[in-house]
């Protein structure tokens, strides 16, 4: 295993101390920051793949994300110095009337792990707040979450507002009662059944 692979492995295992140590070592050794970043993102991708296969769960995602976050704190100044910024911005929130945030937080965490710039609007977010935030931040992706069946109409309303505003951002929806059929019926661009799939879909949509 070469040192960058070891860094990826440390993220996968959620070994934050080792991940930070290897990140610092790579920086000191002159590795290009972009390659170090790619190794960290690869670790999160592996955890995401395992999550999709029910081989990793919420605790494993949390410790991997923590290892990546702490490593990024070391790497970020170099990335900034070289003008390397997240290529894509995602705005995310739980739709109006719904106060649940677990699923939304996991998606935000995984998008950050894929080096998206994530703007988390929280819960109970009105349609116009999604629209305004997407405009303000130049969002490529808007993620809408709902846990309650009672707030599914608010998801529909939010998609409609996004379309009426003429935003170019792609809309991904998810949450316990949401299905692919419902996503289609409200005009969303995609449905994400879980946080890791949300990364795959977001990448696909921004590269389309």
């Amino acid at each position: 295993m070469n040192p960058l692979e070891s860094l990826t492995d440390a993220v996968v295992r959620g070994d934050r101390r080792e991940a930070v140590r290897l990140t610092s070592e790579q920086i000191d050794g002159g590795s290009p920051p972009k390659e170090i970043l790619a190794a960290l993102v690869a670790g999160m991708d592996t955890v995401g793949d395992r999550f999709q296969r029910n081989e990793a769960f919420v605790p494993e995602m949390l410790i991997a994300a923590r290892a990546m976050t702490e490593s990024m704190a070391v790497l970020e100044p170099l990335l900034a110095a070289q003008g390397i910024r997240p290529e894509h911005t995602a705005v995310i929130g739980t739709v109006q009337g719904d106060l649940h945030d677990i699923g939304k937080n996991l998606v935000a965490m995984m998008w950050r792990g894929a080096h998206f710039n994530v703007v988390d609007l929280g819960t109970n977010v009105a349609a116009e707040d999604f629209v305004n935030a997407a405009k303000d931040h130049g969002a490529d992706i808007i993620g809408l979450s709902a846990l309650l069946t009672t707030t599914m109409p608010a998801m529909r309303q939010t998609v409609q507002s996004i379309r009426e505003a003429g935003l170019h951002a792609k809309v991904i929806v998810g949450g316990a009662p949401i299905t692919a059929e419902f996503a289609d019926s409200i005009g969303a661009d995609a449905f994400a059944p879980d946080a890791a799939t949300g990364v795959d879909i977001a990448r696909k949509l921004v590269s389309a």
Binding site: L62, G97, P177
Partner: protein
């Protein structure tokens, strides 16, 4: 035959007259029920089989607020503090519309760093006899009304610790073995151990435990993780029921989501009844078929599908499917899988109620 008799016969595998019914209502759903029945009491208006009764802990919200302030956690003026320290904020009503009953959970212990900070909080005294003084009379009252008495100890340990600490922090505590997560889980487990003993001695028919550990697509945590951190604690609580009982008391366990991977473990620690068996993520006929030999089932009418979005005939069909299972020997209690939210049409709820009270052998 009273509703209690009917329910206990169903749970025992004896011939029941009809499918026992349990429904959890939100306040907006209760508004709707009142407009149709004139009553806000679902036990009476819907003909439910159970009455739920819990302990009455005493603690001062002001003590919690002061303690939280000392930890640097400030509450908004609208926030409410529960007797176990849980904190809920109340968003402006106009942003919630029909879902005015919702409250936003805060996690006041998210930034706690030491076990002594936890132990110094103004926890209620769960050993105080005052917390349980009302139970005997409440159980007798339920029985007089022909209802089975359910001792509420849901959110047994994991969920209470998560509500206070935050799910992410709690999981990290357990992974990092900081002791903080264990302290919280142990406090709530010991509280539950004591409470269920009181329930049993007060004559309850059913002890209701539960912690959400499932998601729509499987377990929230790996099964070995659950076995290490949560199963032994659940086992302690169930054992306390067994130690106290002089006649059979049913132990029900609630977890949302798909928990098929731990059903055998639940049975192993002594769980008798599984709730809610969400049909959207746990195939009902298959799950019941696989586990009917050692488990009864309580729920199965989907609140993400049939109740809000189905027609009355869909509701009837779902009940009929469960009646078929019951006639075939499965032990089934009918219940929507979660609370009735304001989007459930009254016709669907009234169909559920009517179908549940039809004689089991006529319901086809």
């Amino acid at each position: 035959m009273t509703e209690r008799d009917n329910l206990l016969r169903m749970l025992s595998g004896e011939k029941a007259d009809h499918l026992p019914l349990d429904v959890w209502m939100t306040e907006p759903a209760r508004d709707l029920m009142e407009s149709h029945t004139g009553s806000r009491d679902e036990v009476e208006a819907l003909g439910l089989a159970v009455e739920r009764i819990g302990p009455a802990y005493t603690s001062s919200p002001e003590s919690w607020i002061q303690a939280y302030r000392g930890l640097g956690f400030m509450l908004s003026p609208e926030a409410t503090v529960g007797c176990l320290g849980t904190v809920h904020d109340c968003p402006p009503a106009e942003t919630l519309g029909a879902a005015y009953h919702l409250r936003e959970m805060r996690h006041p212990l998210e930034h706690v760093e030491t076990v002594s900070q936890l132990s110094e909080l103004p926890w209620p005294d769960w050993e105080s006899p005052d917390a349980y003084a009302h139970l005997g009379e409440a159980v007798e009252g339920a029985h007089r009304r022909g209802l089975a008495a359910v001792g509420q100890m849901d959110c047994t340990a994991f969920e209470m610790a998560w509500y206070l600490r935050g799910m992410g922090r709690l999981f990290l505590d357990l992974v990092d073995r900081t002791g903080l997560g264990d302290w919280l889980l142990d406090w709530f487990t010991q509280r539950a151990v004591h409470a269920v003993g009181q329930f049993v001695r007060s004559g309850f028919d059913i002890v209701w435990l539960g912690d959400d550990v499932g998601t729509q697509r499987g377990m929230m945590m790996a099964v070995p993780f659950w076995r290490e951190h949560l199963k032994p604690r659940l086992a302690q609580v169930v054992q306390a029921v067994r130690d106290a009982e002089t006649s059979p008391v049913w132990v029900a366990y609630h977890s949302d989501g798909d928990v098929r991977e731990i059903i055998d473990d639940l049975v192993e620690v002594g769980v008798d009844v599984l709730n809610p068996v969400q049909p959207e993520c746990m195939p009902v006929v298959q799950t019941v078929g696989d586990h009917r030999h050692h488990l009864a089932f309580w729920g199965m009418i989907g609140t993400q599908s049939t109740m809000p979005f189905g027609t009355p005939s869909d509701v009837k069909m779902a009940v009929t499917e469960l009646a078929d299972l019951a006639r075939d020997g499965a032990r089934v209690v009918l219940s929507p899988t979660h609370m009735i939210e304001p989007d459930v049409p009254w016709e669907n709820l009234s169909t559920l109620v009517k179908a549940s009270h039809m004689p089991l052998f006529n319901l086809r």
